[in-house]
Each structure stands twice: as C-alpha cells, then as structure tokens.
Amino acid sequence: MHSEMTETTKAILSELAAADNGSCKLPIAQDLYPEESLAVAIEAFALYCDVEIGGATLALHMRAEHRRESRKIIGSFLSFLLDSAAHIRLRAEAER
C-alpha cells in the first residue's frame, strides 16, 4: 500500500462525495466487473437510474424522481455490482 494516493483514487473519492447531486462517473475494469455483472446490475436498477458505459467508464444518472435518494441508490448499485461480480468469480472457480 502507498502513502501517496493515485489521481484515480482521488477522482473516485471526489465522484462518490458528490453522489448526492444525482450522478456519478466511475472507472470500471473488466477483470473486476465482467460484462455479465454490469448487465444484471443495470437491469436491476433500471427503474432508479440510467447507466452509460463508455469504454472503461461507468456513468450513473439518477432519474429525477429518485434524485433525493441518489447516495443510497448509487451505493446500492455498487454493492449489487460487487455481489454479482463475486458470484461470477465463485462460479468460475467452482467450474475450474
């Protein structure tokens, strides 16, 4: 671990700190979050937010009616995504 934090980490913190504003842009890595995990998370949260994936970036935009609870929704989306990715990893491990 490093005492000097990278610019990417600082940018992630800034984005999440502003999550209450209703949108958030985060870097997404394929080896951490495979396409399948993203697809299920996007589908599960389709009622609450729009998601754009451009290259290695994931952008979440809250729907107007849910903007007041955007921190909770963005956080839940990220937890759901982690959960899906972890399950995909476990499944791949079991198949090996």
Partner: protein, 135 residues
C-alpha cells in the same frame, strides 16, 4: 465539498470527511479473490467500489462509502486490512490442503477404499494384506 485528506494515523488511507474512505491494495500481495472476499464481508456495513488504477496497474483501490452520511468509516480501514490478510491466508491454505480435503469428503461418501481398492475387498482366507503370514 470537503477536500481529500490523507490520514496521518493510517497513511495508506485517503478520506473525504469520515464517511468516504479509500485504500489502495497491491495485488502482488493480495490476490483479486482475497480482495473480493474481504470486500464482500463489509457490504453489510458500507457500500464498496473496487477499481483498477491505470497509472499503477498492480494496484486496486477499495473505496468504502458509508450507508449513512454521518457514519465514521475510518475505523473500518484497519479491519478491512486484517480481513485481507485473513482471506489471503485462507485461500493459500485452501490451495495447499484442498486436494486432501476433497479426498476425505470423497472417501466419506464412497463405498470402497479410494486409496487401496483391495483393502476392503479381501476376506480373511485371501488375506490380501498378509496379516496371517508368519514373519
């Protein structure tokens, strides 16, 4: 928005306020499986996001976001670091003793002896192990 500050007590962590903390993990020390398992253990206490760091490809950032904006997540930094060690050791042990564990489970459900098929098949007249033979 508060500016990011590096904690002097935990130089590996960077926080914005108390409710948003990030740590950077070197994947040459902790595998991705250990990082996922450790992160998953904390999903009941905070929201977690993992990210690769393009400018340092061996690093993964774990960002913890509090479920409640006034919560203090900084004590979790030490806990998640300990959990990473725990998970990495579990995985190493599992790799080391995994085949033995699989054999024990398979033997428990098998009818015959998996290591020595003849051992349970013989009778005392055949004496396959030579128990009755004089030495």
């Amino acid at each position: 928005m508060e500016s990011a500050r590096e904690s002097l007590a935990r130089p590996m962590a960077l926080s914005i306020g108390d409710s948003l903390v990030a740590i950077e993990i070197d994947t040459s020390l902790y595998g991705l499986d250990a990082i996922f398992r450790a992160s998953y253990r904390f999903t009941d206490r905070c929201y977690i996001f993992l990210a690769r760091i393009p400018e340092a490809p061996t690093l993964v950032a774990i960002t913890l976001m509090a479920k409640h904006p006034t919560a203090d997540l900084r004590p979790l930094v030490g806990e998640i670091c300990n959990e990473l060690i725990d998970q990495q050791i579990r995985l190493a042990l599992s790799k080391e003793v995994g085949p033995l564990r699989e054999l024990i489970v398979a033997q428990a459900f098998a009818e015959g002896n998996l290591l020595d098929a003849q051992r349970d098949d013989g009778d005392y007249e055949g004496d396959p192990l030579g128990i009755g033979r004089s030495r």
